[in-house]
Amino acid sequence: MSFTLLLIQTLNGLQLGVLLFLIAAGLTLVFGVMDFINLAHGVQYMLGAYLAVAFYGIVDNFFIALVLALLASLAFGLLLEFLVFRHLYGRDHLDQLMATFGIILFLNHGVRELWGAAPLSLPVPDALSGAVRLMPGMLYPVWRIVIIAAGFGVAAGLYLLVTYTRIGMLVRAGASNARMVSALGVNIELLFMIVFGFGTMLAGFSGIMIAPILSVEPGMGDNILILAFVVIVIGGIGSIRGAFIAALMIGLVDTLGRSFSVDILRLVMAPSPARMVGPAIASMLIYVLMAVVLYVRPSGLFPARGR
Amino acid sequence: MSNGLAEPVLRLEGLSKNFGSLVVTDNVTLDIVPSELHAIIGPNGAGKTTLINQLSGLITPDAGRIIFAGADVTHLPPNLRALRGLSRSFQITSILSGFSVLENVALAVQARMGSSFRFFGRAAKEKALNDPAMDVLERTGMAHRAHADANALSHGEKRALELAIALAMQPKLLLLDEPMAGIGPEETDKQVELLRALKGQMTMILVEHDMTAVFALADRISVLVRGSIVKTGLPVEVRADPQVVTAYLGEEME
């Protein structure tokens, strides 16, 4: 276990963390403001990646593809909201689970139909490719730094938006008590649509940003969805601040856990069982963390709604 | 049964509750005497329902003690207080929809009887539960609606069911949170008669806005203003108190 490796994995953990934050932010807002459990958020992330690949194939420029894919993501998200989701606000969570589960099936297999099951890739823009020397003997990919920077940037922007603008105030109020906001005469339908569209864009954005690093394939959103839910539950539903803190926490715990679980276990057991048990424990780590947090704080760390 | 020297059924000592910087219950100290009907009145926002919620255990006070029948129940959960004989009705009707009127009351009977971990036998048909439930329904004038769905009742009937459920628990202390809320004059008279018939059989705390009912029923009245009790006394004393009149500026007291 070298210091360099520790540093690299810490940075990787931060990168995963900001990625999770971008996805979780939309999820927690939609849940907080509309009380809507959106399992389909993961496929929106996947769709962003696929759209970026598709547009890149046409325009051959990463940044143009990024913008187009974002807009297309937003459009598709709003379409889904209009056709399906808005009829489910106020319905049982159970119904929302099944409907969004259906959307997952539809999109996961839809992209398989359109683009095939083989993983696709999106190249990093030339200017931001390659690696940078952070320390003697330590190279770190530029793109990953871009992701971390973009993530923090979006987080800062979201914070300013939510804290200092009128719409942000309405969102915070809505997350705390949507009926009250509606009773005050605010066009709640429009607010919901804005929140949902924004969340979709964030998910799509993270999909686009991660596409150059991971492979773009059907079902890539499923596991990240679970992580995102763990994030918002630990952070507290409806809280952007909670999502940020929880996302970084999860990103670091998961990444560092996976890298060093075997090494840490080797301190207390023989190499062979350590190598066997280590990965399993690493995978479970975040769930154990969530269980512990929920045991102590049944509503997460910073729930938007009181109690 | 001696009154003044008996152990109070309920003793509140320095009860306080804040929601953030808002003081909702301000150092409330009060004794409720056995068999009395004690009314709590006060302007809107005085904190009456919050007080009742603390008494029944739905809210935990920040400071102070609640002593019920000699035991400190301040931190006891609602179900255990209920089993000790503290029963309440809700201001906003809180019945079990989807169940019949009879089942609503039978469930309260079932709670009192214990042994609810029975996995077999149709509970809805048990005579041991339904008979006492029907008795309570007769006393509250709801027997003719025993098999109606609780949802299908009129507002006044729901309030009567609310009371029936509370009575089925055979309470030592009955907390009534605005039982006359939203019902018309005829049904109010019926409720008043019902409560008058119950007077003496159990101790009751009545939170109410309807002053006619309050002065018809109360043995003593406490006035709650902005979370603290400004006056406790006999109805005639309370009526004449200038502080109370000020607190009720504009409200009819007759």
Partner: protein
């Protein structure tokens, strides 16, 4: 003051009782006749499909018990199925191939896990509850993948089906089919009795108005915990049946997608009806079998079907049939 003018124990109006008996009777008669149908059509796969429907129906009924009657949405129930299945697999690998051992262990282990996790899960509500059940399901899943000794990710083949008291009674698919049938019938009848019992009434009341139930004198969490443990045990039974049927166990049996499918089955059929769970299992698995024969990428079609069921068919299939049967209800 007894002697009420209306008899307290009046019988439930007849039509409803008929529905409560006729519908399940039809279901079980249909299930009992499947092997006959398979023989007539010379379609062995119908027997397998029928077994599968019933195995998941046991789990779905168990899930409906807590979802439909307690209002607790568990997104980790496949974990209990997996526990039950792995109990059979591991015991078989270690030389204990008799149902007399593997059945109690399967159900017992599941109940213990349900008790331990239930104590934590029931401290939460709403979506937090959903997520923490998901978490525990994932935990069990990852533990299974790490069991290198028992196949790990690839799963474990079971040498042969359980013997019953030493006799190879379920060696044939037909015999297994009827054993599963009996277990489903037993599970169903047990749950039916449970929900109309004193215990079940407290649960149902708690689902409708938890505050009222607690101020009447019930510690609703305690009742929900017992229901959760029973539900977990029955799902473990489903796993026992699954392992014996497929003679194979794998972590895939407990993925969160499987838990999601169980929820879909319950909703599809009609939440809170118990019959609906069986119907939902049949509808889901039959759709899967039929659609996959028509279109290779059948889930592209199935997804929107689920969405439309949610939007337009509230109360699932049972809800639809009730509206057709009694348009004025």
């Amino acid at each position: 003051m007894s002697g009420a003018t209306i008899t307290a124990s009046q019988t439930v109006p007849a039509p409803r009782l008929a529905r409560e008996i006729i519908r399940p009777a039809l279901i079980f008669i249909a299930l009992a006749l499947v092997p006959l149908l398979a023989k007539l059509l010379s379609a062995q796969y119908l027997l397998d499909l029928g077994s599968r429907v019933m195995i998941f129906a046991v789990a779905a009924v168990a899930l409906d018990l807590i979802v439909g009657y307690c209002g607790l949405v568990s997104l980790g129930h496949a974990g209990f199925i997996g526990l039950g299945a792995y109990a059979v697999g591991i015991l078989s690998a270690e030389g204990f191939g008799d149902a007399l051992i593997s059945l109690p262990v399967a159900v017992g282990a599941s109940m213990l896990f349900a008790l331990a996790t239930g104590l934590i899960c029931l401290r939460t509500r709403g979506v937090y509850f959903i997520m923490i059940t998901l978490a525990f399901g994932q935990m069990i899943y990852f533990i299974a993948t790490s069991l290198a000794l028992y196949g790990g990710d690839n799963g474990l083949t079971i040498a042969s089906r359980n013997t019953i008291v030493g006799l190879p009674l379920i060696k044939t698919d037909l015999a297994l089919y009827y054993m599963i049938f009996l277990f489903l019938l037993g599970t169903y009848l047990f749950c039916r009795a449970l929900v109309s019992s004193r215990f079940g009434r407290v649960l149902r009341g708690g689902k409708v108005n938890a505050i009222r139930i607690s101020t009447i004198g019930f510690d609703i969490k305690r009742y929900q915990l017992v229901a959760y443990v029973i539900s977990g045990g029955l799902a473990g039974l489903s796993g026992f049946l699954l392992a014996n049927s497929t003679e194979f166990v794998s972590p895939a049996y407990m993925s969160w997608q499987r838990s999601g499918e169980l929820i879909v089955m319950v909703i599809f059929g009609g939440v809170g009806t118990l019959d609906g769970a069986i119907i939902g299992s049949a509808a889901y698995l039959l759709s899967e079998a039929w659609l996959s024969g028509l279109i290779e990428n059948w889930k592209v079609v199935f997804g929107p079907i689920l969405v439309m069921v949610v939007l337009f068919a509230r109360g699932g299939l049972i809800g639809i049939s009730a509206k057709l049967w009694r348009p004025q209800s």
